[in-house]
Symmetry: C2
Subunit: 148 residues, 2 copies
DNA sequence: TAAAAAATGATATAATTTATCTTCACGGTT
DNA sequence: AACCGTGAAGATAAATTATATCATTTTTTA
C-alpha cells in the first residue's frame, strides 16, 4: 500500500469515527509513513519544520498522540520512537514488534499465541490487561547476513 | 526472602562474577528492595540523598545500570521506572511484567509459552532476538475488587 | 448566528537520561 | 610497601524526551 492509499484509508477511518484528520495530522502521518523504520519525535519535528517553520515540540507530540489513539502509529516505549502501524484499519490489536538494533527496522508481528500466553498468565493472577507492550530487540535477517 | 537475605545473595553472586557490589550499589539496591512496586530514578535519588546528600542523577543512574546489568533490577520501559527482579539469582531470563496502572504494583511472570511464541515469530522472519520487553498494563486483582 | 468544543499557536518548563572530565579506591605486580 | 592500571564515584553540564498553560483560531452544534 503506498502512502496516498494509506492517507486515504486513514481519512476514511477517521470520518467513520467522527475524528478529525486535520492538515497538520496528515502532514505528520505522511512524514512518518515515508520512513520504514522507527523515528524519534524530534527528528519528525525537524522534518515538519521544513514544511511548517512554526512547529514546536507540542505540535508533533499532539499529532502523534492523536495518530496513536487512532491506532495509525505505535509508540515504541523502549527506544522512545514512533512507527507506522502495519494494519491500522483493524483497530485495537495487541502491538508486537521486532526491532533491529542495528538498522532500526521494525517489523510488526501478530501472534495469537503470544497474546494468549500473556492473557493466560494475567488471568491466573486475576490481573486485567488493558494494554500490552511487546518489543523484542535484536538483529534483522538482513543485518545478520551483512556481518558475514 | 527479606532484604538482608537479598543483599547477601546479591553479594554472593557478584563475588562469583568478579563484579563489585560497592556500598553505593548496596544502598540503591536496598532502597529499591524496600519498595514492592516500581520506582522512578528521581524518587530513588531523593531517598538516596537522605543518606548521601551529595548524590546526583548520574549517581543513581550508574548504580541502576549496574544492578540492571547484573539482573538484580529491571527497568520498566513503558513507565520509566525500576523494579526489583523476583529471581535475580537465575540470570538472563526473559523479563515479563504485569503492571497495575492504579496502584503501581508489578508482578513478574515467567511464561515459557510467551517466550516461545515470540521466538517462533522471530525465527519465521530470520530475526535474532537479544532482548525482550514485555510489559502488560492493566489492573491487579486487588485494585479491581477495590472498585466494587 | 451564537455558544460550545476541539485544535493549534506560543511560550515555558518539567522530567528523564547521558556525556565528560576529574578524583578516588581497589587489586594485582614488581 | 610503593607503583600502576582499572574501574567507580564525584562534579558539572548538557542533551533528550515530554508536558503544562494560556491565548487564539477553527469547527461543530444548538
Amino acid at each position: 500500500m503506498d502512502i496516498e492509499q494509506q492517507v486515504a484509508q486513514a481519512k476514511l477511518v477517521c470520518e467513520k469515527r467522527g475524528a478529525r484528520f486535520t492538515a497538520l495530522r496528515e502532514q505528520v502521518f505522511t512524514l512518518l509513513a515515508k520512513h520504514n523504520s522507527a523515528v524519534g519525535a524530534y527528528d519528525l519535528l525537524s522534518e515538519l519544520q521544513v514544511i511548517d517553520s512554526s512547529a514546536k515540540p507540542a505540535t508533533i507530540y499532539r499529532a502523534l498522540d492523536f495518530l496513536n489513539q487512532q491506532g495509525f502509529v505505535h509508540k515504541i516505549e523502549s527506544i522512545n520512537a514512533f512507527v507506522m502501524c502495519d494494519h491500522f484499519s483493524e483497530c485495537n490489536h495487541p502491538v508486537q514488534l521486532l526491532i533491529c538494533d542495528d538498522c532500526g527496522y521494525v517489523e510488526e508481528i501478530q501472534s495469537e499465541n503470544l497474546d494468549l500466553a500473556i492473557r493466560s498468565m494475567a488471568d491466573a493472577s486475576g490481573f486485567k490487561i488493558k494494554h500490552q507492550v511487546v518489543e523484542a530487540h535484536g538483529y534483522c535477517a538482513k543485518c545478520q547476513s551483512d556481518k558475514n
